[in-house]
C-alpha cells in the first residue's frame, strides 16, 4: 500500500484514503460548445498512458476531500511529488534525472 502526500493536509496518508481521478492538466475549454470534433476527441478520449512519468489527478476522498495533482512513475509506482490543483506542471522533479 502506497503512502501519498496530500498537499492540502501536508501529510503522508495511506493509499486507502485516496482515489485516482485520471490524467491531470487536461483543461476544459472555455468555449466548450464551440469545440471541433477533433478537439473534443483530444479533450475527452485521448490519454497519454506513458511508461515513466505521469501527471495525474487524485482526490483525498476519505480525508480533506480535495482534488490535487501528483507526479508518479508508472514503472516504479513511486509518487515523485504532489501539488495543489490549479498549480502548473512542475518544471523540475525532485530526484529524477533528465
Amino acid at each position: 500500500m502506497l503512502l501519498i502526500r496530500c498537499p492540502y493536509c501536508e501529510e503522508e496518508r495511506p493509499e486507502l484514503e485516496f482515489r485516482n481521478a485520471g490524467e491531470a492538466h487536461i483543461a476544459r475549454s472555455a468555449n466548450m460548445a464551440g469545440e471541433s470534433d477533433d478537439d473534443f476527441e483530444k479533450f475527452f478520449f485521448i490519454r497519454s498512458n506513458p511508461k515513466g512519468i505521469i501527471h495525474e489527478r487524485w482526490r483525498h476522498m476519505h480525508g480533506c476531500a480535495r482534488f490535487f495533482n501528483a507526479v508518479r512513475d508508472t514503472v516504479t509506482d513511486k509518487f515523485i511529488m504532489t501539488y495543489k490543483a490549479g498549480e502548473p506542471k512542475p518544471s523540475k522533479l525532485p530526484g529524477v534525472a533528465k
Binding site: 500500500m1 495511506p14 466548450m32 473534443f40 482526490r59 482534488f67 516504479t76 490549479g86
Partner: protein, 1002 residues
C-alpha cells in the same frame, strides 16, 4: 517414553512433559516443545505422505518452513480441519490428531502409486500434450479425474468457526528473522530508543543457533544467548517481539504483511484468542535477517523417506533430542553436513559413511570426523538410494565412474550447500546479483529502505554476521529519523562471538548419476514431483526462458514456492542451455513466502461485517410491519409489505391500486440529497445540469438531468430552490456518492471561481413520500406554517415549515403521477413523523408501499430510472427528455458531447413503451427485440426491454424498451423471441396511465 529414537542426553526439551498425539489413527507420545515432525521421528516414523503426481512415499526433508513433503491434515473437530500443514512447523500439543494426505486406501499401500510405474507417460508438460481432445472431455472427464488423482489435501467443507484479527502497526525498525543476526540488529536498534518490531516464524528465537552446537556468544551457548537477548528486548517499552510470526509479503514503501499464528499450537485455544493475527506494518527501515535454506543433493531416488537435509537432522538431534536413524549415511558437497555427522556420532548414532563429492577438501570438521572414526570418502557420489517406504541403502560410485558399492543405511543426510533467503528482498523489488565465486544470488540493488544482514546477505560465519547485523541495526535506527524519539547512540555492547562455525560453498544442479544421459528420478522439486530430467526435457522442447521452464515443469510452483528447488532447477536449465547462470536469470519471488490462510486476510470482514449495511430511520417500523427488504447498494429498502396470505404479486397489486385510489406512504429516505449553497449556486447548477436554473423561482422545483462530458445521462432527480442561493438537489439512491464526486470535481478543478459549497445531506433528512388522491388530506392536519392549497402549493413546489412540530422541507412532487408530497424531516424524527402520517393515513385507507410498487407506478407514467432504462449510452434525446435541455444555454457539462455526430445520428435507440398483444404476458427485462422473428439466427437485434411489470391499474402488462428509431415505429408490431416462443408487441408511447397528467394536480 516419548519415542525409541529420543536421546535423553541430547536436545533442549524437558522429557517430563509428555504430549500424546495421533497420526493416521495410531497413537504416539511426544514431548511439549516438539513439532509434529520431531515427535514422529522420535517414534521412528519417516513415511508421512505421498507425492503430488507420482504418489511416491515421502518423508520429512527439513525442520522448518521450507518443507515440501511432510504435509498433513490437522483436525481439531468437524469444522476445524486444516489441510497441507507442514509437520515441521506444527507444534505438538496434547491430543493433536494428524492425517496423511493424497493416499488411498492407506499411506503404506497407495493405489495411486501406479502413477510412479506409469511415469514415462507423465513427463513434464504432459497435461498440455495428452488431454487435448476431444475438447468436451476436458471438463467432464479429464479435469475432474486429474484433480482427484493429483493434488494435496482436501479443503474443509464447513464454514470456518475460528475468528481472526488484524492490526496495523508502525515502527522505526522492523527486523524480519530472529536468528543470531536478527537478534543482534534488533538489540542495536532498540538500544537507541526507537520503536522496534522483531518477528520470527518459529516458536522460539535463535534460527540456526537451534542446531549449531559449536556457537558461543557472550560466554554462553548460542541458543541460550538468543533467548536471553530476546527476553531483554521483550522487556523494553519500545520493542515488540513477535514469535510464530511470518513476514509473508513485502509491499511498496516498507509496508510488510506478517501473520502471527496465535493459537494453532494450543491444546484448547480459548474463545478470546484469535486463531491468527494479521499485522500490517509500516516501517521506516527494514532489516532483513531471513537466513539461508539448505539445498538437497539431486540424485536418483533422493526422495525416499529417511533422506533429509543435514541441517534438519542436526536440528532434530540438538534441539529436539531425536536421532533420525540408527545407521546414517551422509552425502554432501560442503562442510556443514560433517557437523551433523559429528554431532550424531557423538550422540551414539552410527555414521556408516560420509560421501563427499569434492575431491580433496580440508578443514577442521573433516579432521574431526576422521578422528571420531567416521569413514570419509572424497570424489564420490551417491548414485542411487535403495528402499521404498524407507531408505535402506546408498549406492556409492566414484564421480567419474567406476565400481559401485552399496552401503546399508536407514537415513541419508544430505547437503548441497545453503541458499540465501532473498525472497523478501526480491519482493521489495530489489535486484539480486549472482556471486560467481560462491555460486549464489545475493541482494544487489536495493529498491526500498531496507538492508539485508547475515546469511540472507551471503555473509558467512557467525562472527561476521553479528558484526554486520549489529552495525546495520544501529544505522537503521539512526536513518529512521531517530531524533523524533529521543534516541541516543547505542548504549549497549555488541555481542561477542567466542566460537562459531563456518560453512563453505557447495554445488548446484544434478549430481553425478543424475546427469543428462540418465533417466533416473532425481528430484529437484519434491512437492511438484519435478525431476532433473523434466527440466532438461523442457529446455529441449524449446523452453529457453527460465520463466517458461518453470511453468512447463511447474518447478518451484508448489506451496513451498521452490525454497529448496529453485537454484537446482536453474542450474540444470543453465547447463542444458549451455549458458552461465546469471544469463538465464532467476524467476521472480512472489508473496506469500509461506501460505497464508484466507481467514487471516479476511479477518473480521465477513458475514454481516463484510460490507456496511445502511438502514433508514423508518427501517424498524417497516421491519415490524413484516416488510420484505431488498438490497439497493448498501441500503436495505422495503420491497413490499405482504399482508397475511399475500404473495409478492398480490401485495404489489394492492399497494399500486391503493396509491391510485386513496393514498400510499413510501420511505424515500435513501434518495441522494445534496445541498448546493452559495452566491454562485445557480450558476453552478446551470453548468452541472442540462436544465436552466437561473430563472427558477425560489419555492419551485424542477426535474434535472445531469450528463457526463460525453453527453450521456449520468443521473437525474428533482431539485428544489429553497432560496436564491440554496438548492436542495436529489439524486438516485445508488448515484449519490458519484454525483457528489462529480460535482466536487467540477467545482474544485474546472469551476473553482464559483463561490459554492456542496454538502451531502442524504442521511440528515428522512423522506416520506405521501402519494395519491388523499395525500393532502393526510398531511394537512399535521402541517404548520404552509398553505397547502393548490394555488399556494402547486405541483413541483417546495416550502419550509413544520410538521408534527418539527422542521420540514415539504416538496409537492410526484414519482407516481398522483397528487403527491415528499416530506423531508430531520432523520432523528423520521420514524415519529412516519408513524403520525401513518395514523392519519389509516383514516383515509392509505397503504404503505415498497420499492416494487414504486417501480410499477413510475413505469405506468413512463418515468425513467437512470441505470435501469438508461445504461450510460443514452442521451436526453434518446430518453425522450429533450424538453429538459436548456436550448439557450451557452455551456453545461455534456453540451459538446451531446452534439457528437453519432449522438445526433438517425436510428439511435430510443426509449419507447411496449404493449404485448396478449395483455397477460409480462415481458422479461433484458429480452431482445427483433423486427422479423423468422430470420435466421443470429437475428438482428434492434433493442431490448428495460422495464417490464404487470400493472394492476392498467389491467395489463406494460414495458419500456430501447428500440432503434423507436419513436418512428409508433403502432408497429415487433417481436421478442423467447425460449418458449415469440412474444408479439406493439410500440407505444411511454405513458400508460393518465396520459394527460391531470391527476398530478389533484
Amino acid at each position: 517414553m516419548s519415542g525409541a529414537f529420543r536421546i535423553p542426553s541430547a536436545g533442549r526439551l524437558s522429557q517430563a512433559k509428555t504430549a500424546r498425539f495421533s497420526f493416521d489413527g495410531q497413537s504416539y507420545a511426544g514431548i511439549e516443545g516438539d513439532t509434529l515432525a520431531s515427535a514422529l521421528l522420535a517414534n521412528g516414523v519417516h513415511l508421512v505422505g505421498r507425492s503430488f503426481k507420482y504418489h511416491r512415499p515421502r518423508g520429512i526433508l527439513s525442520a522448518g518452513a521450507e518443507e515440501p513433503n511432510a504435509l498433513v491434515e490437522i483436525k481439531r473437530d468437524a469444522a476445524r480441519k486444516t489441510p497441507n500443514v507442514r509437520a515441521t512447523v506444527q507444534e505438538l500439543y496434547d491430543g493433536l490428531a494428524a492425517q496423511s494426505q493424497n493416499r488411498w486406501p492407506s499411506l503404506s499401500f497407495d493405489v495411486g502409486a501406479v502413477n510412479d510405474i506409469a511415469s514415462p507417460f507423465f513427463s513434464a508438460g504432459f497435461y498440455y500434450k495428452t488431454f487435448m481432445w476431444p475438447k468436451a472431455a476436458w471438463k467432464s472427464l479429464y479435469e475432474p479425474k486429474i484433480r482427484a488423482a493429483a493434488g494435496l489435501g482436501v479443503s474443509p467443507d464447513q464454514p470456518d468457526p475460528d475468528h481472526y484479527s488484524s492490526r496495523y502497526a508502525h515502527c522505526d525498525v522492523l527486523v524480519l528473522g530472529g536468528g543470531a543476526a536478527g537478534v543482534a540488529a534488533a538489540l542495536a536498534a532498540a538500544e537507541t530508543g526507537v520503536r522496534v518490531i522483531l518477528a520470527d516464524e518459529q516458536a522460539e528465537f535463535g534460527g540456526s543457533l537451534r542446531f549449531e552446537s559449536g556457537a558461543r556468544i557472550d560466554g554462553q551457548d548460542g541458543f541460550a544467548w538468543a533467548q536471553g537477548a530476546v527476553a531483554k528486548l521483550a522487556a523494553m517499552d519500545n520493542v515488540r517481539v513477535l514469535s510464530r510470526t511470518t513476514a509473508f509479503g513485502y509491499y511498496a514503501q516498507n509496508f510488510v504483511g506478517l501473520v502471527e499464528r496465535v493459537s494453532d499450537h494450543l491444546k484448547a485455544p480459548g474463545h478470546d484468542l484469535p486463531r491468527e493475527r494479521l499485522w500490517q506494518v509500516r516501517a521506516r527501515r527494514v532489516v532483513l535477517a531471513s537466513g539461508a535454506i539448505e539445498r538437497h543433493m539431486v540424485f536418483a531416488d533422493n526422495d525416499r523417506p529417511g533422506i533429509m537435509l543435514a541441517g534438519a537432522a542436526r536440528t532434530y538431534l540438538n534441539h529436539y533430542g531425536v536421532a533420525v536413524g540408527k545407521n546414517v549415511g551422509v552425502y554432501t558437497a560442503n562442510d556443514s553436513a560433517y557437523a551433523a555427522a559429528i554431532d550424531l556420532k557423538k550422540a551414539g548414532v552410527n555414521v556408516a559413511a560420509i560421501v563427499d563429492l569434492r575431491d580433496n577438501p580440508t578443514g577442521p570438521v573433516i579432521d574431526e570426523a576422521r578422528a571420531l572414526g567416521i569413514e570419509v570418502n572424497f570424489g564420490r557420489a551417491v548414485v542411487r538410494a535403495g528402499g521404498k517406504l524407507r531408505v535402506s541403502s546408498m549406492t556409492v560410485q566414484p564421480k567419474n565412474g567406476g565400481g559401485e558399492r552399496t552401503i546399508p543405511v536407514d537415513a541419508i543426510l544430505m547437503s548441497a550447500g545453503w541458499t540465501p533467503s532473498v525472497h523478501l528482498f526480491s519482493q521489495s523489488r530489489g535486484k539480486v546479483a549472482f556471486n560467481d565465486e560462491t555460486k549464489r544470488f545475493v541482494p544487489g540493488t536495493y529498491a526500498q529502505d531496507c538492508v539485508s544482514v547475515g546469511a540472507c546477505n551471503g555473509t558467512d560465519g557467525l562472527s561476521a554476521s553479528l558484526d554486520e547485523a549489529y552495525a546495520a541495526g544501529a544505522k537503521a535506527a539512526r536513518d529512521a529519523n531517530a531524533r523524533d524519539y529521543g534516541a541516543k547512540a547505542a548504549k549497549g555492547t555488541k555481542p561477542k562471538v567466542d566460537a562459531s562455525e563456518s560453512w563453505s560453498r557447495g554445488m548446484l544442479g544434478a549430481a553425478p548419476g543424475a546427469g543428462p544421459d540418465t533417466t533416473v528420478k532425481a528430484f529437484v522439486d519434491f512437492q511438484n514431483d519435478v525431476t532433473a530430467k523434466d527440466i532438461r526435457q523442457a529446455v529441449h522442447e524449446g523452453m529457453h526462458s527460465i520463466e517458461h521452464v518453470k511453468r512447463f515443469t511447474t518447478n518451484g510452483m508448489a506451496t513451498d514456492q521452490g525454497k529448496t528447488s529453485n537454484m537446482h532447477g536453474l542450474a540444470i536449465a543453465a547447463e542444458t542451455l549451455g549458458k552461465p547462470i546469471p544469463e538465464v536469470g532467476l524467476t521472480t519471488f512472489r508473496a506469500p513466502y509461506t501460505p497464508v490462510t484466507f481467514g487471516a486476510i479476511v479477518s473480521h470482514a465477513r458475514g454481516p461485517l463484510f460490507d456496511p449495511t445502511r438502514r433508514t430511520a423508518i427501517h424498524p417500523w417497516a421491519e415490524a410491519q413484516g416488510a420484505v427488504f431488498e438490497d439497493v447498494g448498501q441500503w436495505k429498502r422495503a420491497w413490499y409489505f405482504p399482508k397475511t396470505g399475500e404473495d409478492m404479486h398480490a401485495a404489489v397489486d394492492r399497494e399500486c391500486v391503493a396509491v391510485r385510489t386513496k393514498a400510499g406512504l413510501f420511505d424515500a429516505s435513501t434518495l441522494g440529497k445534496i445541498e448546493v449553497v452559495g452566491p454562485d449556486a445557480a450558476k453552478f447548477m446551470e453548468l452541472l445540469y442540462t436544465n436552466p436554473w437561473e430563472k427558477l423561482e425560489p419555492g419551485r422545483c424542477r426535474y434535472g438531468i445531469m450528463l457526463r462530458e460525453d453527453g450521456f445521462i449520468y443521473d437525474d432527480g428533482v431539485v428544489g430552490r429553497l432560496a436564491p442561493d440554496r438548492f436542495h438537489v436529489t439524486t438516485t439512491t445508488g448515484g449519490a456518492p458519484r454525483v457528489m464526486n462529480h460535482m466536487e470535481d467540477y467545482l474544485q478543478t474546472e469551476f473553482p471561481h464559483l463561490n459554492v459549497w456542496l454538502t451531502s445531506i442524504t442521511e440528515q433528512w428522512a423522506v416520506i413520500a405521501v402519494q395519491g388522491p388523499k395525500s393532502r388530506d393526510i398531511i394537512a392536519p399535521l402541517v404548520e406554517g404552509i398553505d397547502m392549497s393548490d394555488e399556494a402549493l402547486p405541483h413541483m413546489s417546495v416550502r419550509e415549515g413544520k410538521i408534527c412540530g418539527v422542521p420540514t422541507r415539504l416538496f409537492r412532487m410526484s414519482f407516481t403521477g398522483e397528487r403527491g408530497f415528499e416530506v423531508n424531516v430531520p432523520a432523528d424524527y423520521g420514524q415519529a413523523v412516519w408513524e403520525a402520517l401513518w395514523a392519519e393515513g389509516q383514516k383515509h385507507g392509505a397503504a404503505a408501499y415498497g420499492t416494487e410498487a414504486m417501480h410499477v407506478l413510475r413505469a405506468e407514467k413512463g418515468y425513467i430510472i437512470v441505470g435501469q432504462d438508461t445504461d450510460g449510452t443514452v442521451t436526453p434525446n434518446d430518453a425522450g427528455l429533450d424538453w429538459a435541455v436548456g436550448k439557450k444555454k451557452a455551456d453545461f457539462v455534456g453540451i459538446r458531447g451531446m452534439a457528437r455526430p453519432d449522438l445526433v445520428a438517425k436510428g439511435r435507440k430510443q426509449l419507447v413503451g411496449l404493449k404485448t398483444k396478449d395483455p397477460k404476458v409480462v415481458l422479461e427485462e433484458g429480452a431482445q427485440i427483433v423486427e422479423d422473428p423468422k430470420q435466421a439466427i443470429p437475428m438482428k437485434m434492434i433493442g431490448h426491454v428495460t422495464s417490464s411489470y404487470w400493472s394492476q391499474n392498467c389491467g395489463r402488462s406494460i414495458a419500456l424498451a430501447l428500440v432503434a428509431g423507436g419513436r418512428d415505429r409508433m403502432g408497429d408490431t415487433l417481436y421478442v423471441p423467447m425460449p418458449n416462443g415469440v412474444v408479439e408487441v406493439e410500440v407505444t408511447g411511454m405513458v400508460f396511465f393518465d396520459e394527460t397528467g391531470g391527476r398530478l394536480n389533484g
